[in-house]
Amino acid sequence: MEQKLRDEAKALLEQGKVDYIIGFAPGSLKFTTTPLITKDKGDADRLVINPFIVNNLSVFLTEIKGRVGIVAKGCDSRSIVSLIQDNKVAREGVIILGVPCPGLIDVNRAEKLVGKDRDEIDDITRDGDKIAITVGGKKKEFPATEVLFDDCLSCESPTPEEYDILIGEPAQLACDTELSREKIKQLEGMPLEQRWEFWKGEFNHCIRCYACRQVCPACFCERCFVEETEPQWVHPVPRWQDNLMFQIARILHVAGRCVDCGECERACPVNIPLRSLTKKMDEIVYDLFKYQAGTDKEAKPFLTAYEQEEAEDLIR
């Protein structure tokens, strides 16, 4: 699979069909990968496909000028579609190298399962529905659903729906939608006050690094509302009130664009369970309007469209 990707990428650059290839290269730490953005066909040999290709590379599309060949998992391809819907990316400007993805391994979860840090783990391997973690020469097996990312467990498009070249066979996914929204279910079960207390506690940690925004392909505004000074919607000092307000408004802004790729939660250095917010928003949008982000490149973006009759029961 990897070889095919490398060959295709090399060919695209050689034939001048693209100016850039965006893909994944091995990371500098164990069980990591890093985005590779290159014009050099020699770099194509560094491209990898493995269960750690976590980044949603479509975030780079809005800033790169030129034609791009981009490696995209199912969720990433939906982000690209969403960007096409928003006129941020021209379909003909990208060549999508679709990579079927049977789910990504959440290293934090693996760490917790074996009680060791990432660099103390010898190996993590996947065999179908089982994931084996080796520590100190001892191999322990876990059901894949316990080690994959939450967002992967409810993935509806493990094989990209939008692509130009598909690398490999369509993927099967060990889904567990219930497990995927377990945190949301927990929150929904709490009384209102307790929920608010929960988020208050979480956003007390927020340091306003804005990684959630920067990593999000749907956050493509040239200037974010949080940086406006007149009026100043959100106070720049990182106190929980404004941190939370920033995040609520951000998620309202990406409603209908968020494809549940889970990047915001992964990027967060202080472990705020952001996906419990974004995924919930996705559910709200689907429940009320039967709209799913990034599934139809011809569709009007969610917040700029309407039906004559919808959601009337929420308004007096």
Partner: protein, 155 residues
């Protein structure tokens, strides 16, 4: 911005209304001139269309200490700009659901359609929303107990 203090003997909710100038704002006017009684708890900001009501308005109002927010615009099909209220409707719907999920009492954010001639409806809506706010009590969402006690918040 004024702040409610616990010391005040009788607490009255503060409701901030964003009213479309073509309908609800005129409706509020009509309610006044035709002497329809509605609670004085509402402070009104006139907006050109309910489609102008950014969710940030709601958040900022709650952050500033308003107990509730009301957005009111033209009935579907009656927008002065043809479609503004349709867009507003989607935003209102997702905002309402989302705020509730976060733990904000649904009474704190309400929306209504109310035409220029519906003075009675407007008065009813405001009365009803105010009643709801009285039931849920003062907005303490963004108040930090630690800061109230003068402790230093730190990283």
């Amino acid at each position: 911005m004024e702040q409610e203090t616990k010391k005040e003997a009788k607490w009255e909710p503060k409701l901030l209304g964003f009213l479309c100038r073509w309908c609800s704002y005129a409706g509020a006017d009509l309610a006044g001139t035709s002497r329809k009684k509605y609670p004085a708890n509402i402070r009104i900001i006139r907006i050109p269309c309910s489609g102008r009501a950014d969710p940030l308005f709601i958040l900022k109002a709650l952050r500033m200490g308003f107990d509730g927010v009301l957005i009111s615009g033209c009935h579907p099909g009656e927008c002065h700009y043809q479609t503004g209220n349709y867009y507003a409707r989607r935003r209102i719907a997702i905002t309402k659901k989302f705020l509730e999920y976060l733990g904000i009492e649904p009474e704190r954010f309400q929306a209504s359609w109310c035409s220029a001639s519906e003075a009675i409806k407007f008065a009813e809506v405001v009365t009803d929303v105010t009643k709801g706010l009285k039931e849920v009590g003062p907005n303490r969402l963004f108040i930090d107990e630690r800061e109230e006690h003068g402790a230093k918040a730190s990283g």
